[in-house]
């Protein structure tokens, strides 16, 4: 059986300690020579050993699909689910895999049988596709449909400020709907209306960690449903401990920070809420069985059975979680990986801000895990004054930064516009070092100079 000829880094000896973190680890990834990847938060990356294992699984499923699906897949899937459940502090039958976080959040929000009067609350910094998913539900052209709201969050904010902002918004919404009885609370019989809150555990743009556990508690106290968009969490956030945190629903991408093959996400639904997820999306053969038996004699909950095979897909990403976790163990485990990355994110952000002559978004450090957000040396919108950033300028700036980053400097980091300013979001990873942040700084300094040259209005703005 021929396999893809990968480079030396596609195998590793688990009995031999790994190289030091930093550039020495680069050989275990497929990155082009010279490509400075500070954008792990966007697409994630599977190490070559995981790639190699995924190829083997794929080939096997192609060559002998029947053998694979009947005999090999389910035990491998169960093993993968068990490993992930352990990492999350959840029960194995509360954990299934889906294609990605958008899909997982969609599965939850589209299973809820919305009634007129229901409310969904997101935030202004909710991931665009998820926010759109919320809006879509509210856009149904006739009843019944929920009413979407978004709490305005302008970072940086302290944890307490964030919680207060949510609380205030919830109060405001309830005051707008005094006749609505939000009696369909988690654990209740299902009468009345629901108030659902979509909370980011770690926001994408900017890349900041929110006090989601405290927000979950707040929701629980108030009878609100909590849907946690934790896309960035697994593999970046330590001690997630879902059994303790008790969100109503929680979804995270494994291909972002956990080193799995693209694409794979975890959908966590505690037993008490599984009756709400009537169907996988799309609906599976197993739909409608109270407890489907898909393993010899051992029944599994419908939630689990439906998600084993919700239509034909390539299952190798789900199964790659096992190899990804093994590789991470070899590197030293979750604590070691995230300690390095967090430390580098903080130092890297400071260094980047020095080079650019700007500042870090999160000066307190309260919001920083493995990503840092640093302001770009471009004019900042000032409240009360007209913005230079019209749609055209914004599009030009985005296109220019992307073009120059990727093709002139061969460096990647995400660009974002927040609170009137442009920021770069850089991801620290085990293959990155401080010099990468310095290189990014050098590139962005130059690129921003060129942008100011090209867009005359920007020159006239007081920095």
């Amino acid at each position: 059986m021929a396999t893809l000829t990968l480079s030396e880094g596609s195998t590793y000896d688990p009995s031999v300690p790994p190289p030091a973190f930093g550039h020495a680890l680069k050989k275990y990834w497929a990155f082009d020579e010279g490509y400075v990847n500070l954008n792990n938060g966007a697409y994630g990356s599977q190490p070559l050993p995981v790639f190699a294992e995924s190829q083997k699984i794929q080939l096997l499923s192609e060559q002998a699909p029947d053998e694979f699906h009947r005999r090999l897949y389910l035990p491998l899937l169960d093993e993968a689910r068990a490993n992930v459940a352990k990492l999350l502090g959840a029960k194995v039958d509360e954990v299934v895999f889906v294609t990605n976080t958008s899909h997982g959040v969609g599965t939850v929000l589209r299973n809820i049988e919305w009634r007129e009067g229901d409310v969904i609350l997101g935030a202004s910094i909710t991931y665009q596709a998820v926010a759109n998913g919320i809006r879509y539900l509210g856009d149904r052209s006739e009843q019944p449909r929920p009413q979407p709201y978004f709490v305005e969050l302008r970072l940086p904010m302290t944890h307490q400020e964030l919680i207060d902002a949510f609380r205030a918004k919830i109060r405001e919404i309830k005051q707008l709907h005094p006749e609505t009885e939000f009696t369909y609370t988690p654990g209740s019989e299902g009468q009345g209306n629901r108030f659902v809150v979509v909370i980011d555990a770690i926001v994408s743009l900017p890349g900041v960690a929110l006090p989601w556990k405290r927000l979950v508690k707040m929701c629980a106290e108030d009878g609100l449903w909590s849907v946690i968009d934790a896309a960035h969490s697994i593999g970046q956030e330590v001690n997630i401990n879902l059994s303790e945190a008790r969100p109503d629903f929680w979804i995270s991408n494994c291909h972002k920070w956990l080193y799995t093959k693209r694409s794979c996400a975890v959908l966590y639904v505690p037993e008490r809420n599984q009756h709400i997820i009537k169907s996988s999306i799309p609906t599976a053969h197993a739909y409608g069985s109270a407890t489907a038996t898909s393993r010899e004699g051992k029944p599994v909950p419908s939630f689990v059975a439906q998600h084993e095979w919700s239509a034909t897909v390539d299952f190798s990403p789900f199964l790659s979680t096992t190899h990804a976790l093994k590789f991470r163990e070899w590197l030293g485990g979750e604590a070691k990986i995230n300690s390095y990355c967090h430390d580098l994110a903080v130092r890297g952000g400071t260094r980047l801000a020095d080079i650019l002559g700007t500042k870090v978004l999160d000066e307190s450090g309260e919001l920083t895990l493995n990503m840092t957000n640093v302001m770009l040396p471009l004019p900042v919108d000032v409240t009360g004054k007209p913005s230079v950033y019209n749609a055209q300028n914004m599009a030009t700036i985005q296109a220019t930064v992307q073009q120059k980053q990727l093709f002139e400097w061969n460096v990647a980091a995400s660009l974002l516009f927040h609170a009137g300013a442009w920021w770069v979001r850089a991801s620290a990873q085990v293959w990155t070092e401080i010099s990468d942040f310095e290189y990014l700084g050098k590139a962005l300094a130059q690129i921003c100079e060129e942008i100011i040259e090209d867009i005359p209005e920007l020159k006239k703005v007081d920095a």
Partner: protein, 450 residues
């Protein structure tokens, strides 16, 4: 990837169809696998790993458009009516879940609709409170002529309309009333079990006359059915898998929605960052319909299956093109079916050939339930027989073909592919003769052969 089977010289002629072509596939069971397409897809995957940012932000979109262009041409559709989705079930769910169902709406499936789709219909009807459609089914017991299928369908439609005489189905395709009730039919172009071609174009015409929305489950069509020509056939929605008969990598499907109906598909599934954009643009820069823009990116995934379509079609061109492939496979399905029936001493389901494209359905030498006689098959023994067939075909004989219970009997569905020959059907027949004997001994020791 290296190795003779992972590449082919497009300048030189291919080998003859049949076993000489087997080397371009690499299965140790009788299974569809296309190694060089696999290799092409693997290279795409590697590129995505070598530079994820460049690949996902710059490289991917133009390649996706290429794939869409190629399949649009193949099915006689406009480029901006065609998007790619992970699989047919996903595409059908996108359509069926996009429809804003109202109390009084009717959703009609069939007895031979694919399981997961039947379940999707059930799910929609299972909503615990209004609004939800009422779900019905029309029963097809094969073999049927095309005329019989059309008549059965029309009769059922009229029957349901009569039953729901108080409902005014004014929300019809091409009409202006989007507030009234809808009658929606899910129509298979090619059913799975049995693997038969239905007169779907005629059924669409019936639906046009009756004001019924047509959702085509064409999972098996692209790469098996010639002359699909959607611009002419005018289904309201049409979905087909590229990884079944078109040789693309698993998994990839076409979702076709003509311009006139795209307003119904408000959102991709899941919803995309492009949802709600007033002037949606493809990432390549051009303005495109929101339907197209939304489906470019519905969350991060492995895009190599979508992009493998080009390599798949190129290979099919090299083999001689769609017509040549169809001629061989159809001819072999017919001949193979006859031979299979001879070996098993039974009969082909489709004696006239109108239901047969590249799959043939042949009765297995097991008892047949007959009206007026006590049932041989029960909910007890049916699943066990099914498992036994599967295990023994697989483990004892190293061959596999789908098998199913229909119209009181057990049938095998054998697919003819370019690497198959009649001897493969003979081998399958031999295997089934032996296995069915074992089944009869185990389950029906007292029943004499039908």
């Amino acid at each position: 990837m290296t190795g003779e089977r992972f590449s082919y010289d497009s300048e030189s002629a291919p080998p003859a169809f049949g076993h000489p072509l087997k080397k371009y596939w690499a299965f140790d069971k009788d299974y569809i696998n296309l190694n060089h397409v696999f290799a092409a897809a693997a290279e795409i995957l590697l590129r995505a790993e070598q530079h994820p940012d460049r690949f996902h932000r710059v490289t991917y979109m133009p390649l996706l458009e290429e794939s869409r262009e190629l399949v649009a041409e193949l099915i006689g559709a406009k480029l901006n009516e065609v998007v790619l989705v992970p699989n047919a079930t996903h595409g059908l769910n996108t359509v069926l879940r996009s429809i804003e169902w109202r109390e009084g709406d009717i959703l009609l499936g069939t007895s031979t609709t694919y399981g997961a789709i039947t379940k999707t219909l059930k799910f929609l009807g299972d909503r615990s409170e209004a609004p939800r459609p009422v779900v019905y089914s029309v029963t097809y017991t094969f073999p049927l002529t095309h005329q019989e299928i059309v008549d059965t369908f029309r009769t059922r439609v009229r029957e349901l309309k009569f039953q729901h005489a108080k409902t005014r189905f004014t929300n019809v395709p091409g009409g202006s009333d989007d507030k009234g009730n809808r009658f929606v039919a899910v129509i298979d172009s090619i059913a799975s079990n049995p693997g038969v071609l239905l007169p779907w174009k005629e059924l669409i015409k019936v639906c046009e006359e009756e004001g019924i929305w047509t959702v085509l489950d064409a999972a098996h069509s692209v790469g098996q059915e010639p002359n699909i020509n959607l611009s002419e056939a005018k289904p309201d929605f049409w979905i087909s898998n590229c990884h079944k008969w078109l040789y693309a990598k698993r998994s990839c499907a076409i979702l076709y929605v003509p311009e006139r109906n795209q307003h119904i598909i408000k959102s991709s599934m899941p919803t995309s960052h492009m949802y709600g954009e007033s002037t949606p643009r493809s990432r390549t820069g051009e303005q495109v319909p929101t339907f197209v823009a939304q489906h470019e990116w519905t969350g991060t995934q492995d895009f190599s299956p979508y992009l493998s379509v080009k390599a798949a079609l190129r290979f099919r061109q090299w083999l001689g093109g769609e017509d040549k492939i169809h001629e061989y496979c159809h001819g072999l399905a017919m001949k193979g079916g006859v031979r299979l029936a001879e070996v098993m001493n039974t009969k082909v389901m489709d004696e006239t050939g109108v239901l047969t494209l590249h799959m043939t359905n042949v009765l297995m030498p097991l008892p047949v339930d007959r009206a007026g006689q006590p049932p041989v098959y029960t909910s007890e023994n049916l699943p066990h027989i099914n498992v036994m067939l599967r295990e023994k075909l697989f483990d004892d004989w190293n061959v596999y073909a789908a098998h199913y219970y229909h119209a009181g009997g057990w049938w095998v569905r054998a697919s003819a592919q370019v690497w198959n020959e009649v001897s493969d059907f003979e081998y399958l027949g031999m295997a089934l003769v032996a296995i069915c004997k074992e089944i009869r001994t185990k389950f029906f020791p007292d029943v004499s052969d039908a």
